[in-house]
């Protein structure tokens, strides 16, 4: 079974927000919803040693997803391949998952009354295509693939480069990993 993961190489990300736009267009999101913002930290340090980092964010598709255990109706689910998704017909819009998510990855849709989230473009991925945000990233800062496939780029990067997860202290074990700097140091 596949184990989908994404590696975000902040050494490559230039903060252009193409992924944000591609996601919104590709997934036909409402105007007030963003699945994958790109945040900026810095510039830090003093000239000439200044540094700036961009963090492309998205749903972390946690191995141990708090949103799924908070869901009272079973609408929030984790698929066999690790993708965390919402079965919309079962969602009642109680927003327990919104409260449970540490990554601001759950978005109430005020028109449908249900909660929306990034699903790694599951429909595309299961047809062998890349998610919209990965497809569009011209800097190749978003690397998507199957961690169980030793031939995949994501497998090789994961095993050769120092990566970090966001908020690891919460025990969610995200499937989204960040490469922070050339030396592998945060």
């Amino acid at each position: 079974m596949a184990r989908y993961a994404m590696i975000l190489d902040t050494r490559r990300c230039i903060g252009c927000e193409s992924c944000t736009v591609a996601c919104r267009v590709g997934n036909k999101l409402p105007i007030d919803m963003i699945y994958n913002p790109v945040t900026t930290v810095g510039p830090t340090g003093t000239f000439p040693h200044v540094h700036m980092l961009h963090y492309p964010l998205l749903c972390m598709h946690c191995e141990n997803p708090p949103c799924v255990s908070a869901c009272p109706t079973g609408a929030s689910q984790q698929a066999q391949d690790g993708i965390v998704w919402v079965e919309e017909t079962k969602c009642i819009g109680c927003k327990a998952c919104v409260q449970a998510c540490p990554y601001h990855a759950r978005h109430p849709n005020h028109v449908t009354g249900t909660v929306y989230k990034c699903d790694f473009c599951a429909d595309r991925v299961r047809q062998g295509l890349e998610p919209h945000c990965v497809k569009t990233c011209h800097q190749r800062a978003r690397i998507f693939g199957d961690l169980d496939d030793p031939g995949s780029e994501v497998y090789q990067l994961f095993n050769t480069t120092m990566t970090v997860q966001l908020l690891p202290e919460l025990g969610t074990d995200p499937s989204v990993y960040y490469i922070l700097s050339a030396g592998g140091q945060g």
Partner: protein, 305 residues
């Protein structure tokens, strides 16, 4: 696109009503089981059923798809599901408990059954008072909630508002017994409420102060808001002074009706402050990012509507 509160006033209202109803039914049931004075608190059972029903309606009102609320009963593991079962049961069983008391009740002589029901309701009341604190407290990203002290605070506050409500209702219809019993009950309720107020005062102040010193900027941010920031007036003025200290003084002076009303108001304000303190640890760069999002009143958003 502004960052809005995930849960709004209906949830705060429910937390208040749930704690109030749970606390009230605990008083009715405990008085029946251990003191043999259930009759004085019979009206409390009916009011509990109404309060819990009203609170549950607020929960349903807050849903994105209210008509689908029944799905909450369809899983086994979520705390919210357990809570929904307890609430639904308590609405029915507290009403049933009430039906044993009026003169015209055909089964008013079945004392064993009534006491079994009271025992069940005692447990349900404790459950309803506590599970909300467990539900909020189990949400790890919400740093101000994620502490074992929150269920304790909710339980103490629920009990104290429940006792306050019962001291307003004690002795009314369908109770038709001796007035001395009501007087005696008022005295002991006052003593219990005094003790609960002191415990709540300590729990609450320690809770907020500990949050000020806890690990993680989110809890600290929320606690600072309570202590010196935008919640300082409702917290110090509403919850601490009006809701806890004033009833303490008034009880000491022997005032009857006013102190319970103060306790109820304080409990309501407390629930609002708690629900609005759903602070989350910011992801790297997220604070700046959120501050730059449209706030919803921009001309281009208006043009779209």
């Amino acid at each position: 696109m502004k960052t809005e509160r995930t849960w709004g006033w209906p949830i705060a209202g429910y937390l208040f009503l749930g704690g109030l109803g749970g606390g009230a039914i605990i008083v009715s049931s405990a008085a029946d089981l251990f003191l043999g004075r259930g009759g004085v608190f019979a009206l409390g059972c009916l009011v509990t059923a109404a309060l819990i029903a009203l609170g549950s309606s607020l929960l349903i009102f807050e849903l994105g798809r209210p008509a689908q609320f029944w799905r909450v009963f369809s899983t086994q593991k979520a705390i919210m599901t357990a809570g929904a079962w307890m609430l639904s049961l308590l609405i029915g069983t507290s009403f049933l408990q009430f039906t044993f008391w009026p003169d015209f009740s055909p089964w008013r002589t079945l004392i064993g059954l009534r006491q079994a029901l009271a025992a069940l309701n005692l447990l349900l009341g404790l459950g309803v008072c506590t599970y909300t604190g467990i539900l909020l407290g189990s949400l790890k990203p919400r740093r101000f909630w994620n502490t074992p002290a929150l269920p304790v605070l909710f339980l103490v506050s629920g009990l104290s508002t429940g006792v306050a409500l019962q001291s307003l209702l004690a002795g009314f219809w369908p109770y038709a017994g001796a007035r001395e019993a009501v007087e005696a009950v008022h005295g002991s309720l006052q003593a219990v409420d005094l003790a609960l107020i002191v415990v709540e005062l300590i729990t609450l102040v320690v809770y907020v102060l500990m949050m000020r010193t806890t690990l993680g900027q989110a809890a600290e941010r929320a606690a600072a808001r309570w202590l010196t920031g935008s919640y300082a007036l409702p917290f110090w003025g509403g919850v601490i002074a009006l809701g806890l200290l004033l009833p303490l003084v008034l009880y000491a002076l022997g005032v009857q009706v006013l102190p319970p009303l103060c306790v109820l108001t304080g409990g309501l304000i407390l629930r609002f402050l708690v629900v609005y303190s759903d602070d989350r640890t910011f992801l790297p760069g997220e604070e700046k990012y959120l501050s730059r999002l449209p706030r919803g009143d921009e001309p281009f958003l208006k043009a779209l509507k």
